[in-house]
Symmetry: C2
Subunit: 562 residues, 2 copies
């Protein structure tokens, strides 16, 4: 079987409810219902059929889109019921034939995106007042249960048959790698011995035992199931702080111009140099008048610069990941007026309690997290004409290194805003508007060894020139105009010559200093082990369990423990 | 080249200073010096030469032994200077030709043991009042620098040439996987952009820059180096709470009887059933009179039951890991008088401030951590005649599951002691005498979802019979005498049929619920990524960098980013 189902085609990540193949989104006042109804023949590749509500990346792209639109387009929604339209089947998990036919890189990228989508559900719950209720109307296996685990509560039908299960280990010799193992013991706090048993019984656990073991929150017989789900959905709306009477904005298509070596959006562009295996990602700062009130922001909607810029950036990162695996290094640049970026930051900060501004800020945060988790080397190049200020300086901080040109003849500065730190009154507490997945801001993570520096640099009244930025520890290197070209060229060239795998591993370890959270645990511990297993012959070899699944042959294992 | 250098020979982990090939241990009052002087031709295999103070597992076994003996045999030592007897060379790191010729499993096990040894150094510093001062008298590369990172302080000679470096990524396409990446950003809190640069320059960083970047604590010119090291070593002794005038005990050889299918120590035995790929590990409780004062414990020395039992257990675990990779499941049993185990616990708790009792308790803790980190499935079988009480019940808690026979005709109980929990006065604080590497006790980790249970079960006046233990959540399953044989047999048989890789990944994720620490990060995030890379063709393939190292050919990489 081919191991390169997807790698030659280009994936796009934009969709909208009218285009969904696999989900139905319906809103009824404060309760929305998101129903899975996967079309067997509408997978991203014709090589497999998406039976039993199993999913591929295309299904998950729609789910991610739905969650995003619920946040921006439906401020009235307070509870989302996640369920299925298929009789006695909730979801059978990731499609095994898709996984079997995919390259290692595709598997890894697929899991990363699905992990990010599940974390987006949890982010909406934690930060946007949208509670998710998984209504499991039938079998719920593997990735299906991992989706349920991302919801706030899980109700399972008690029909003597429907169970929740994580059959990956016994059936496929892989892990429930989309957060499943982590969420079972860390989020739902299932006892580890029971979790161990659960993770090895392919048929799963059902009924009262599932409740007693904390695997689900409640079970109801078929006759009461719908009614109890509806009741609980209503109850959950009471926990929400979403506004009454607000009107959503529409997230329109991004319409990038895509050529063989460039992606051009309205303010973001990506230029690809295939010979050097380098992309240049440029973000243009805002121009013209910025809206300064919630009403004015609402009026411009998805054209408001912070939202537009980060939606484009998010899409660009996803396309780079999926479609440009040979591009190992990304030079990150900005262009524009730093003062305007800081003005946009002030608007976001002044109206942080407005529902839409809150959504925009959390979306910026999630996009920056996506960058932290992208397995490419990012180098910020800070040159005259750039606008690495406030929120856009977070882009530089998300990079593995920052190079800043020190040329007295060409003014070149960076600046911070409260978007880089904590809100005024909340000094000395962790976090800020744009925390990383470790719960700290990028400045806090950067200055873990010199925590006083965080307040020092945030308190600076002026912008930093290259020397000041170097002294303050805000940039890695500040070469002068004589050295700049060579130093930057050499840094990028030598990076491109290293093993991409070693760089991925190195970056995954250096980027997340400080505390670990459930989120970093999923991407650190669980994902790294899953990636290991995705290469093991016992899973993916000729006689491995993933390869053998669904065929006549039984898997044959090398039983040596590593 | 063979990829099975070591796998056919049996490794032993016992040694003593008289037998060292690679280290010299000398004690001068409160300052000991541990000098690396690796003998090229004394590697574990004749297939490579240990040039430039590079190391293999045999070198690290001696290091682990030295650290252990400093704790038990030299209570007068308060500072250990870790240095080298080779001119202008501290240590070149793990031997690359050894790594290149080793199987995947050997690499993984080698890294696990070296990680545990470095953590044992940090444990001695944190808990036993022994400070470690790395005196880098010359080049210090890769694993050499990772050893230095495990020390409390690092002094580097400033001779215009000597540098610290992590050349794994640029030269070998692997990671500094013995804690290097984690300790650089999490322990020494080096800024991540500087750490990124450092991790890609094979020649490393030297002199003042190494101090400014926090990579070392001080540099001194050759003329002052020895004197400054001696001065700082003396200063560090002031931080110690080790006793004056105490006399150490001698750790004698364990002398197990080793046959093809058994390991028999004085109170620990391992019986191997190769057909079923199962080992039975049995620990016998104490018999006869136990010493009850520090003086009496000192007098019996290494024959004191808790020390003897856990030294034997530690050695058994290490041998299982290295020599019995086909044994995937371990049935854990105990035999003896629970009251005597609890009596031993009382002695340990009553004299917890005695230096030797402190060492014994920390050693028990480290052995249990070794078990947590052993990639085998452990099932505790709690049967009549067993003595799963207090410290020995930690063995059961360290298992993936606990099966307890419920037979009214045969009394069978388990019991807790303060060794399972927090010391009396310190209730409601995390930890206890035997924390896991996540900083919590095994009971706290087990009851993450029901934290009140911890105090409930610790407060119980009586032992628990099978039903009570099941109700209290202390065992997974309590089958009656009719079901016992079938249920246990089926559990073990089905376990043995699963992919060992999937089980390893599953266990590594389920065993460490709750907070992450630097220690769990090293074994979770860093190790899992390293294990992934240790399978990547860019490292270990025919044209991979590890394979090509030292040969005429240059590595050829697949530059696709995963």
């Amino acid at each position: 079987m081919s191991t390169a189902i997807h790698t030659s085609s280009r994936v796009t990540f934009e969709t909208s409810p009218e285009q969904y193949h696999h989900w139905k989104l319906s809103c009824d006042g404060p309760v929305a219902t998101l129903s899975m109804d996967v079309q067997e023949d509408a997978g991203l590749s014709p090589d497999y059929k998406l039976k039993l509500n199993s999913y591929d990346l295309g299904v998950d792209i729609e789910l991610a889109d739905a969650v995003q639109r619920l946040r921006f387009e439906h401020p009235e929604v307070r509870t989302v019921v996640v369920t299925s339209l298929k009789e006695r089947i909730f979801c059978a998990g990731a499609n095994i034939f898709m996984l079997r036919g995919s390259s290692h890189a595709w598997k890894v990228n697929f899991c990363k995106f699905t992990n990010e989508t599940r974390l987006a559900i949890e982010d909406a719950s934690e930060n946007s007042g949208i509670k998710f209720l998984a209504a499991l109307n039938g079998i719920c296996a593997g990735g299906g249960y991992e989706l349920a685990l991302a919801c706030d509560e899980i109700i399972l039908v008690d029909d003597g048959n429907s169970a929740v299960s994580l059959p990956e280990t016994p059936l496929l010799a892989v892990l429930p790698g989309t957060g499943g193992l982590t969420r079972v013991v860390d989020k739902r706090k299932v006892r580890r011995d029971l979790a161990d048993f659960f993770g090895t019984v392919a048929e799963g656990i059902r009924g009262k035992r599932a409740v007693e073991w904390r695997l689900v929150d409640a079970v109801y017989p078929t006759s009461q199931f719908k009614e109890q789900v509806a009741k609980r959905a209503q109850e959950l709306t009471a926990q929400s702080d979403r506004p009454s009477g607000a009107k959503g904005i529409t997230l329109g298509p991004l319409n990038p111009e895509v050529t063989d070596d460039a992606l051009r959006y309205s303010v973001v562009s990506v230029d690809i140099d295939r010979d050097r295996r380098v992309a240049t990602l440029t973000v243009r700062g805002p121009e013209g008048d910025l809206p300064s009130t919630p009403e004015a922001i609402q009026a411009v909607g998805d054209q408001f610069w912070p939202l537009r810029a980060f939606r484009e950036l998010d899409d660009a990162l996803l396309r780079l990941r999926a479609n440009e695996s040979l591009i190992g290094t990304v030079a990150v640049k900005t262009e524009g007026d730093a003062a305007k970026v800081l003005e946009a930051d002030e608007v976001l900060l002044a109206h942080k309690d407005d529902w839409l501004v809150r959504e925009i800020t959390h979306f910026i945060k999630r996009t920056l997290k996506r960058m932290d988790l992208t397995s490419r080397s990012f180098f910020a190049l800070i040159e005259p004409g750039s606008c690495f200020a406030g929120t856009l300086f977070e882009l530089a901080l998300a990079c593995d290194r920052q190079y800043m040109l020190d040329d007295p003849d060409q003014p070149n500065t960076i600046a911070l805003s409260a978007m880089n730190g904590r809100h005024g009154a909340e000094k000395d507490t962790a976090g800020g508007p744009l925390p990383m997945s470790n719960g700290l801001t990028r400045l806090q993570t950067r200055f873990l060894g010199e925590p006083d520096r965080v307040d020092e640099v945030l308190g600076a009244a002026e912008a930093f020139d290259a020397q000041q930025a170097g002294d303050a520890g805000l940039v890695s290197f500040a070469p002068d105009e004589l050295d700049w070209d060579d130093e930057v060229r050499l840094a990028i060239e030598s990076r491109a010559a290293f093993s991409p795998d070693a760089l991925t591993g190195m970056e995954a370890n250096l980027r997340f200093a400080g505390p670990e959270t459930m989120e970093t645990k999923i991407f650190g511990r669980l994902t790294a082990w899953q990636n290991w297993i995705f290469q093991r012959p016992n899973a993916v070899g000729e006689k491995g369990a993933l390869t053998a699944y669904g065929s006549q042959s039984r898997p044959e294992f090398d039983f040596n423990r590593v």
